[in-house]
C-alpha cells in the first residue's frame, strides 16, 4: 500500500479521502488555494501546500503547480477526487511521467475515452445501445447547429471533458443553441479546463440510472449496484438513491450486464460509473462513463459496506481487485442529499460566505460527508456543494423517513442552502411513489418558495423576545460581520439577574 499520497482536490471530497487514508495509515498531502487556507482539508492532512490564488485555473486546475507540490512532498501517488482534474488526461500523464501513480485510469484510457465519442463507438461495437449524438466535438455555434439538425432538435450541448452537469445546455431551436453556446463553453472551461462541447439528442423524461463498477486488472470487474440519479435541476444531480425505484430484478440484471459489457469492451480500470438513460419504454441507452469517484458514491458504500476509496487505493497500488461479485451483498436502501450553498428562494443563486454554525444530523443510519465547521468559509470560486447527507435503512420508506428527520436536525447558519428544497422533494407524492424522471425537478422546483412552516407559538415567542429586549435595553445597530459578536454585544446590554428562574410547568 502507498505510504503517502497527494490529494489534488479540496473540501468534502479531500476530507473523505483523508479519512480513509488515516484509517489505513497512509500519510496525506493537501493542496490549497489562498481562500482555502482555512479549509478543513488543510488542517486535517499531514502536510499542506499552497498552490495559488482562488480561481481554479490558478490552483486546482494548475497541473504544473500540483505536480511541483507532489514532487516536493515526495508522495507515491495522487488522488484527484472528482471534478477539477479528475478526468484530465494531461494531468494523469504529468503524474505518470513524474513517477507518481495517478489513482484512477491511466492517461491513455482518459485520453482515448474521456473524449466521449470514443467510448460511444466502443459501446456500439460491443452491442450496447447509445444516445444518438454527434461523433465529434463542435468548434462553433454554427457547427453545433449543423450537427443538431442532423440529430434533430431538441438537443443537449454537453462538455466533452468532465461531467456533473457543468457546461450543459438544452436547445430546442437553432437560436437557443446559438445563444447558449458561449456560456456552456465558458462553464466547461472553468469546470474542467477544457472548453470543448458536443451535441447529443435531448430525450423526453428519461430516467438517469448509473452503475458503480470497480475494475481491476486482467478484466476482473465487479459492480456495486445502481444509483438512480434522475432528480436533477438543470442537469445537476440533487438527490440520489439506491436501489432505483424504477427497476425490477429483471431490468436491474439487464442494466448491470450492459454496464459490465461496456467496461470490458473499453478495457476500463479503477473505480468508475457507467451512466445510462432509461426511456419511458424501459430501454437503456449508454450515456457516458465517469472515470472517477463520484459525488454520490457514498450510497453505494452504505448498501454494500465497501469503501470505494480504499478499493481505488488497493487497485492503484497493488494492481489487484480482491472483491468477487458473489461476496458483495446489498443491504437495504440508501439516499443521498446534496446540500449546496445556494439560495433556492432566489433562483438558486450561489450563496458563498462564512458559515457561523454547522450542526450535522446524527442517529441511526445517518452519514455526513462535509468539510464544514463553525466559522468555515465557503469561497465563491468553487462548486456550491458543501455537505452530503446520506442515510441507509432496510427499505425506501425507512430511508426517506430517516432523511426527513436528519434534515430537520441539520443546521447550516450564515449561508443559504438547498436543505428546504430537499424537504420539498421528500414530501412530494410522486417522489414518494418513486415515479419521477430527469426533467421532474425542473417542474417541481420552478418558482419554488420557502414553506414558512414556523408555528404561530414560535412566532409569538420570537416577537416577545424582541419586544422584551427593546424594553430592557436600547436596540443596538452594529455593523460588524460577525454575528456572534453582535449577539454578545446585545446581551451585554441586557440587565437581567444572574439567578435562573424556574417556574412550574405542570
Amino acid at each position: 500500500m502507498f505510504r503517502k499520497i497527494l490529494i489534488a482536490n479540496r473540501g468534502e471530497i479531500a476530507l473523505r479521502i483523508i479519512r480513509t487514508c488515516k484509517r489505513l495509515g497512509i500519510k496525506t498531502v493537501a493542496i490549497y488555494s489562498d481562500p482555502d487556507l482555512e479549509s478543513k482539508h488543510v488542517t486535517s492532512s499531514d502536510e499542506a501546500y499552497r498552490i495559488g490564488s482562488g480561481p481554479p485555473a490558478e490552483s486546482y486546475l494548475n497541473i504544473e503547480k500540483i505536480v511541483r507540490a507532489a514532487k516536493k512532498s515526495r508522495v507515491e501517488a495522487v488522488h484527484p477526487g472528482y471534478g477539477f482534474l479528475a478526468e484530465n488526461a494531461d494531468f494523469a500523464r504529468a503524474c505518470e511521467e513524474s513517477g507518481f501513480v495517478f489513482i484512477g485510469p491511466s492517461s491513455k484510457v482518459l485520453g482515448n475515452a474521456a473524449n466521449k465519442f470514443e467510448s460511444k463507438r466502443f459501446a456500439k461495437a460491443a452491442g450496447v445501445p447509445v444516445v444518438p449524438g454527434a461523433n465529434s466535438e463542435v468548434q462553433s455555434a454554427e457547427e453545433a447547429v449543423t450537427e443538431a439538425r442532423k440529430i434533430g432538435f431538441p438537443v443537449l450541448l454537453k462538455a466533452a471533458f468532465g461531467g456533473g452537469g457543468r457546461g450543459m445546455r438544452i436547445a430546442r431551436t437553432a437560436t437557443e443553441l446559438e445563444k447558449g453556446f458561449e456560456t456552456a463553453r465558458s462553464e466547461a472551461n472553468t469546470g474542467f479546463g477544457h472548453p470543448e462541447l458536443y451535441v447529443e439528442k435531448f430525450l423526453q423524461e428519461p430516467r438517469h440510472i448509473e452503475v458503480q463498477i470497480l475494475a481491476g486488472p486482467r478484466g476482473r470487474v465487479v459492480h456495486l449496484g445502481e444509483r438512480e440519479c434522475s432528480l436533477q435541476r438543470r442537469y445537476q444531480k440533487i438527490l440520489e438513491e439506491t436501489p432505483s425505484p424504477a427497476l425490477d430484478t429483471e431490468k436491474r440484471k439487464r442494466l448491470v450486464s450492459l454496464a459490465l459489457k461496456l467496461v470490458r469492451a473499453t478495457g476500463y480500470q479503477n473505480a468508475g460509473t457507467v451512466e445510462f438513460v432509461m426511456s419511458r419504454d424501459g430501454k437503456f441507452r449508454y450515456l457516458e462513463t465517469n472515470k472517477r469517484i463520484q459525488v454520490e458514491h457514498l450510497i453505494s458504500e452504505m448498501v454494500t459496506g465497501i469503501d470505494i476509496v480504499e478499493q481505488q487505493l488497493i487497485m492503484a497500488s497493488e494492481h489487484r481487485l480482491d472483491l468477487s461479485q458473489n461476496e458483495i451483498r446489498f443491504n437495504g436502501a440508501a439516499l443521498n442529499c446534496r446540500i449546496n450553498a445556494e439560495d433556492p428562494a432566489r433562483g438558486f443563486i450561489p450563496s458563498p460566505g462564512r458559515v457561523d454554525r454547522f450542526v450535522p444530523p446524527g442517529g441511526p443510519g445517518v452519514r455526513v460527508d462535509s468539510a464544514l465547521y463553525d466559522g468555515a468559509f465557503v469561497p465563491e470560486y468553487y462548486d456550491s456543494l458543501v455537505a452530503k447527507v446520506a442515510v441507509q435503512g432496510l427499505d425506501r420508506t425507512e430511508v426517506i423517513g430517516r432523511m426527513k428527520v436528519a434534515l430537520t436536525e441539520m443546521i447550516v447558519d450564515g449561508i443559504k442552502t438547498t436543505i428546504p428544497v430537499h424537504q420539498t422533494i421528500l414530501e412530494d407524492r410522486k417522489f414518494l411513489q418513486g415515479n419521477y424522471h430527469a426533467q421532474f425537478l425542473d417542474t417541481l422546483l420552478s418558482g419554488w418558495k420557502p414553506q414558512g412552516k414556523i408555528a404561530p407559538d414560535e412566532i409569538a415567542a420570537v416577537f416577545f423576545a424582541i419586544r422584551r429586549k427593546m424594553v430592557t435595553a436600547p436596540t443596538l445597530n452594529l455593523q460588524t460581520t460577525d454575528r456572534r459578536s453582535r449577539w454578545r454585544s446585545i446581551l451585554e446590554e441586557t440587565k437581567v439577574g444572574k439567578q435562573a428562574l424556574y417556574v412550574e410547568g405542570l
Binding site: S186, A345, P352, I411, E458, V462, V503, G505
Partner: protein, 169 residues
C-alpha cells in the same frame, strides 16, 4: 400593527398583554399564551417560554438595521424581519419599478461576459451580463424595460455582493 416576516411568510402581530410571567400575544387570527419559564442570564442568554404543551427557547443573536433580527428558536437559527407599522393592506406583490433601477450584484463573483452596454435598450428580464460564481454562470436580468444608462463593471471584474453593476432607466 407589527408585521413579522419569517421564511417568506408574513405574520400579523397584536399587542402583548399580561404581566410578570404570563403573557398573551395575538398572531394572525389566534392568540398565543406564553409563560416565562426561565429568563436569560449571563451564563445562558436564552429565554425559555411555555406555549401550551411546548417549551420554546429563544435567543436574540443580533440585529441588522432597524428591522432584521437574527434569532434562534429551539436551537435553530432564523432571520426575521419586523415591520413596525404595517399599513392595513399594503400590496404584498413585488412593487412595480417606475424610476431608474440600480442593479446590484446578488453575490460575489466574476463578470464572465457583458450582454449590454450604455444606451442599449433592454426588455424586462433581458440578460444584462453573466456573473460567474461557484462554477455556475448566472445571468443578471434587467428588473425593468428601459435603457441602460450607466455600466459600472466590465468583463473579468471581480465583484462583491451588493456592488453596483449598472443603472437601467
Amino acid at each position: 400593527m407589527p408585521l413579522l416576516t419569517v421564511e417568506g411568510r408574513k405574520y400579523r402581530l397584536g399587542v402583548i398583554t399580561g404581566e410578570d410571567l404570563a403573557w398573551t400575544i395575538p398572531v394572525d387570527e389566534r392568540t398565543i399564551a406564553l409563560e416565562v419559564l426561565r429568563q436569560p442570564s449571563d451564563e445562558l442568554p436564552t429565554l425559555f417560554l411555555r406555549a401550551g404543551s411546548r417549551v420554546i427557547s429563544v435567543s436574540l443573536r443580533g440585529n441588522e438595521g432597524q428591522r432584521v433580527y437574527f434569532v434562534e428558536v429551539n436551537g435553530r437559527p432564523l432571520i426575521v424581519d419586523l415591520e413596525e407599522d404595517s399599513p392595513s393592506d399594503r400590496a404584498s406583490e413585488s412593487t412595480r419599478i417606475d424610476g431608474p433601477a440600480l442593479v446590484n450584484s446578488p453575490m460575489a463573483g466574476k463578470i464572465a461576459s457583458m450582454k449590454t452596454s450604455v444606451n442599449t435598450k433592454v426588455e424586462e428580464g433581458e440578460s444584462l451580463m453573466v456573473l460567474e460564481a461557484m462554477k455556475m454562470q448566472n445571468e443578471i436580468a434587467s428588473p425593468r424595460k428601459g435603457t441602460v444608462k450607466e455600466v459600472y463593471v466590465k468583463h473579468g471584474d471581480l465583484v462583491k455582493a451588493g456592488d453596483r453593476l449598472c443603472l437601467v432607466n
